[in-house]
Subunit: 360 residues, 2 copies
DNA sequence: CGCTTCCATGGAATCGATTCCATCATGCTT
DNA sequence: AAGCATGATGGAATCGATTCCATGGAAGCG
C-alpha cells in the first residue's frame, strides 16, 4: 500500500542493465537504441522519477530558487511572486518561499534556511542592508534584487542619496568613502522599476495641478522613492510632509491620519505603496476630507482595486509581474556579470487628483 | 574567495574527532562535555551548517512542505500563504510554492515536481478532482486541503451536492455509489471555512432586505458555495441567475457584465470570491447601476480594499490566514487520522446592500 | 588479417549527512 | 581484584543519484 518510490537501482535491475546506463539514458547520454528503449519502458512502467535529493547532493548544485518578499498580503508582491513562479515553472525549477515581514532579522534567518537547503540562487526584495547581503553574495550565492535595493547606511548629508539615484539610472556611483561594502552589494544585479521617473512624473503632474504642499507617505524600502521625491519637490523640502510608516497596515493608517491632522494645509499626497495608499484613503475618509476636492492622492502600484475606489485612484503603475519574471531570468542565467534592469513606470491618471483648491 | 561551505568532515578534522561525534553533538546525542564544547566552538568558528540535502537523503524524510494555490494575486490566497509561512517558519520548515492558475493540469505537473523534490507534505487549494488527488495520497504524500475540497465528479442529480454539504458539517456522507475514489480523497484532512453558514447567512440577510431575485457569481472551486446557495434560495432555483467565470479577471468581468445585462430584473448579487466581487463592482459601474440602490452586493472575502469601495462592501469574511496556519499545523502533525477543521465565517455588514427597490 | 578506434556498458567512487556497531576506557559491584 | 555495566568514540555502511574509468566487442582501415 505504502508504495515507496522506485529508485534508479530498481529500474536498472528490472531492465537488466547497470545503474550507470539508466542514468545515461535518462539524462540524454549515449546508449544503444535497443537498451534506451527498454530502459525508458521500464522507467515509465515503474513510474520512476529521479530524486532531486540524490542528484543535487552529487552535483553539489542545487535546484531551486529562493524567493524572499516582505508580505504576500500586499498585492504588488503577489504579482511579483507570480512572475517569478511563471519563469521558474517554465525552467522546471522549484521555488522556496519566505516572507520577511520587512524585518531584517527574519530576513537573515530565512537566508540561513535557504543556505541549509542548499538553495544558492535567491531573488530578494531586500529588507536588510549591505551588512546582511554582502556576506551572502560572498558565500557564493547568486542573488538578484527585485523592486528594491538594500538600504544604504544612513548618509551624513544627502550625498548618499544622490549616489543611489545615479545608480538607479545605470551610472556607477562615485567611489565614495564606504565603498567596500556598498560595491559588493551594488555589483548584485537587480530588477527595478524606474522609481525616479515614476515619482518625478507624479510630482510634476501634481505641480501642474497647482499643488505646492505635497506630502510623501512612505514605508520600509521606499528609500529610492523618497529620495526622488525630495529631489523633485525641493529644495527646500518641508520635512514635516515626509512621513514614514513601518510595514503594518495599522502603522500606515496611523501615519496617514497623523499627517492629515498635523498638516491640514497639505493639498496632495503621494503614497509610496498600495498599502499606504489604502491607508490614506481610509484616513482621509475618516477625517471627512474629500478626494480629490480637499486632497489629491497619487498611489504607487496599479492594483486591481485602484479602479474600484471612488474616485478611482490615480496611480504610478509598476510592472510587478514583469519584475518578478525578469528577476527569475537573471537568477537562472546566473551570470555574475549581468547588468541590472530598470523597467518603466507609468502614471495612470484616474480621478483622485484635482486642481488645488484656492485657500479663501 | 569562493569559500565553499564547511562539511561535517571539515569540522571533525578541525576538532580532532570523528564525524559521528560531530553529528551526535549537533543533534543532541550523548557526548562528553569536553568534546561537545570543542566541537561546538569549531563549528561556530567555521560557520558550519549541516546540509539539508545530506540529511534528507539519509533519512529518506524530506524537510519542507509544498504549498499549491491558484493565484497569489488574489489577496485571499496571499493571506492563506502568509498563514502557512508563519507556521512553517516557527517549525523551521521550508515552503516550496506553486501557483496552479486553477488549472488541474498545471496542478498535476506541480505535484510531480514536489514529488521529485521529495517534498512529501503538501497543503493544497485543489483545482483538480479526486482523479488527481487519490493517486497522490496513495503515493504516500501527506496532503491537507485548504479552503476547498477537490471537485467531485459531476453528479447526476444533486445528491452528490447534498453529500458534500453534509461532509462540510462534519457528518460523514452516506456511502453512496462511487465511494471508492471519493472516500480516498475525503479521508484527507482539510481546513475549510464554513461556506454553508456563510452563504446561508448572506442569503438570509438579502432576503430580509426584500430581495427575491438574487444572483450567484462563482468561479472555479466554488462548488460548495453554489451548492449552499442553491439550498438557501431554492427550490426552485432560477438557473439563469447562477453564473460561473473561469479564474481570470477578464472572465469574471465578462460573467458579471453578462449577468447584469441579461437579467436586469435581478436586485442582488452574491459574489463568491473577491476577484468576482471586484468584477461585479466594475461591471455595475460600467452599466450605470448604483450600489446599493439598483443592486445589492455581497462579496466573499474581507479583503482590505472592501472598506475602500464606495459604498464599502458588505462581505462574508473567512479567516484566510488562520486557514493557512491551521493547515500547516495539520500537515506538520502529519497524522493520517487528523480530523478536518471548519472555521467560522462572519457576515460583515457595510454599505453595499440596501432594501429592494420596489418595481414601479 | 591484424591493429586501432570508438561506442556501449557496468562497477565503483563520490557528494554530506545519519546511524549501527565495535572498541576502549572508566567506574562500580561482588 | 576481577568482571560487568556504562558511556564516549570512531569506522563504515547507507541513502539515490552522477560520473570516472576500465572492459569488451564491433567496426573500420591499411
Amino acid at each position: 500500500m505504502e508504495a515507496k518510490r522506485a529508485t534508479i537501482k530498481d529500474v536498472a535491475e528490472a531492465a537488466g542493465v547497470g545503474v550507470a546506463t539508466v542514468s545515461r539514458v535518462l539524462s540524454g547520454g549515449s546508449a544503444s537504441p535497443r537498451t534506451r528503449e527498454r530502459v525508458l519502458a521500464v522507467a515509465a512502467q515503474l513510474d520512476y522519477r529521479p530524486s532531486a535529493l540524490g542528484r543535487n547532493l552529487r552535483q553539489r548544485r542545487t535546484g531551486g530558487i529562493g524567493l524572499l518578499v516582505p508580505d504576500l498580503t500586499d498585492t504588488f508582491f503577489g504579482q511579483l511572486a507570480e512572475g517569478v513562479l511563471a519563469c521558474a515553472r517554465s525552467a522546471g525549477e522549484p521555488v522556496v518561499l519566505g516572507s520577511t515581514g520587512d524585518d531584517p532579522e527574519r530576513e537573515a534567518e530565512l537566508v540561513g534556511m535557504l543556505l541549509e537547503q542548499s538553495v544558492d540562487r535567491v531573488i530578494a526584495v531586500p529588507s536588510g542592508g549591505a551588512d546582511t547581503w554582502t556576506p551572502v553574495t560572498r558565500a557564493g550565492m547568486t542573488v538578484v534584487f527585485a523592486a528594491r535595493l538594500p538600504a544604504e547606511p544612513a548618509a551624513d548629508d544627502d550625498h548618499g542619496v544622490t549616489a543611489d539615484l545615479m545608480l538607479l539610472d545605470g551610472v556607477a556611483p562615485p567611489s565614495a568613502g564606504r565603498a567596500a561594502d556598498v560595491s559588493a552589494v551594488s555589483a548584485v544585479p537587480a530588477v527595478l522599476a524606474d522609481d525616479g521617473a515614476g515619482v518625478r512624473t507624479a510630482v510634476r503632474y501634481l505641480r501642474g495641478l497647482g499643488h505646492r504642499r505635497i506630502a510623501f507617505l512612505g514605508g520600509p524600502g521606499h528609500d529610492r522613492r523618497v529620495a526622488a521625491f525630495r529631489e523633485a519637490v525641493g529644495p527646500p523640502v518641508d520635512e514635516e510632509l515626509v512621513v514614514f510608516a513601518t510595514g503594518s497596515r495599522d502603522s500606515a493608517y496611523a501615519a496617514a491620519s497623523g499627517l492629515f491632522q498635523s498638516r491640514p494645509d497639505l493639498t496632495a499626497v503621494l503614497a509610496a505603496g498600495n498599502v499606504l495608499g489604502e491607508a490614506a484613503v481610509l484616513a482621509a475618509r475618516e477625517l471627512d476630507l474629500r478626494v480629490p476636492r480637499d486632497v489629491s492622492l497619487v498611489m504607487y502600484d496599479d492594483v486591481p482595486w485602484a479602479e474600484l475606489c471612488s474616485p478611482p485612484l490615480t496611480v504610478i503603475a509598476q510592472p510587478g509581474r514583469d519584475i518578478g519574471y525578469r528577476a527569475a531570468e537573471l537568477v537562472l542565467r546566473g551570470g555574475r556579470r549581468t547588468r541590472s534592469v530598470v523597467l518603466p513606470t507609468e502614471l495612470i491618471v484616474r480621478g483622485s487628483c484635482g486642481p488645488r483648491r484656492q485657500p479663501y
